[in-house]
Symmetry: C2
Subunit: 194 residues, 2 copies
């Protein structure tokens, strides 16, 4: 589909990886070329040459973050035994301390794409919702998957995980939030009638 760069040029991916590590620590909001270039041992000139302009760099960083995201959720499609199990597995990943910088970056990009629908952030929030809903759909058993109730169930699963993540990132209270997620997992296992 989008065959803009068939061979991203070793140097480009190398610098992108370094810039990605920098963005994980400093955020994307007030990212500017000179500081990031200095931090990764490059220059604004080179970043412009490789990514076209700042928007190109930001887009590449967002795409790079999405790779990490997809690398986490895609294996679920075969390993999870059902929607409750998928939610449980995702939560253990979300709650891990080492993923917090990535998740903060994710939250930042998500919110920004809501406020500023144009530019480099365009469509980030919507695409990530669709990514997760599709994966959760793949985790549901066949009769349920295609029903309206199946759609509602995975929407609820996604909402709970996202909300719990926001809570965890803000308060760091892993125990309280984990208990809420576990309760939801149990409820998804034996749901009430609609």
């Amino acid at each position: 589909m989008t065959a803009k760069e068939p061979t991203p040029s070793a140097r480009k991916t190398e610098l992108l990886e370094a810039a990605y590590a920098y963005a994980l620590q400093h955020g994307l909001a007030d990212l500017s070329l000179r500081p990031v270039a200095a931090a990764i041992g490059s220059s604004p000139r080179v970043l412009m040459f490789l990514f076209g302009n700042k928007d190109g760099l930001v887009k590449a960083l967002l795409a790079r973050a999405r790779v990490d995201e997809l690398a986490m959720i895609e294996p679920l499609q075969s390993s999870a035994t059902g929607l409750p199990d998928a939610v449980s597995q995702v939560w253990t990943w979300l709650a891990a301390e080492e993923h917090r910088p990535l998740l903060r970056l994710w939250a930042e990009a998500y919110a920004r794409s809501l406020v500023e629908p144009d530019g480099a952030w365009a469509g980030f929030a919507e695409s990530t919702v669709n990514d997760w809903l599709a994966v959760f759909a793949a985790c549901q058993p066949e009769p349920e998957r295609t029903t309206d109730r199946g759609l509602t169930l995975r929407t609820l699963a996604l909402a709970t995980l996202r909300g719990a993540l926001l809570d965890l990132l803000a308060t760091g209270d892993a125990e309280r939030v984990a208990a809420a997620v576990e309760l939801q997992v149990a409820a998804l296992g034996s749901p009430v009638e609609s």
Copy 2:
């Protein structure tokens, strides 16, 4: 407690209100003094005089947004008949089209305070979590309110609403998200055992 400004000076509140309306439309991320001053018929000089510096203005805007937030959830403490009812009432407010600018601003401030814990955004995310949890606690019946399970239930209620809000802001699919919230309301009404 914080008696910094006993009489906020009519002119100050007037300009704050105008700047707040501007921020609702343009976001807080790349807010700068000259454009906002021009939009509200003022000057950077006056904003500096009244709010000290840019951080003071942003803090004032965040506090102003929080007033709107509290004005919505506080009445629940007396009107809601229980946690499920509270969730249901909050959702109808969150889902209203006219509140979307405020909620986008809220999401932006929340994410920003996660990435940049210092500065004007400091503590926004955490305080809003605590605000809501306290209100939901006040909506719970007495035996449940003080138990660990009560805390878990309102944490789950909050997470679901926040996650559903994120979904709605990104996709605009009010039907699908509303169905998920309603399912959660029903589940909170007849919850499974822990």
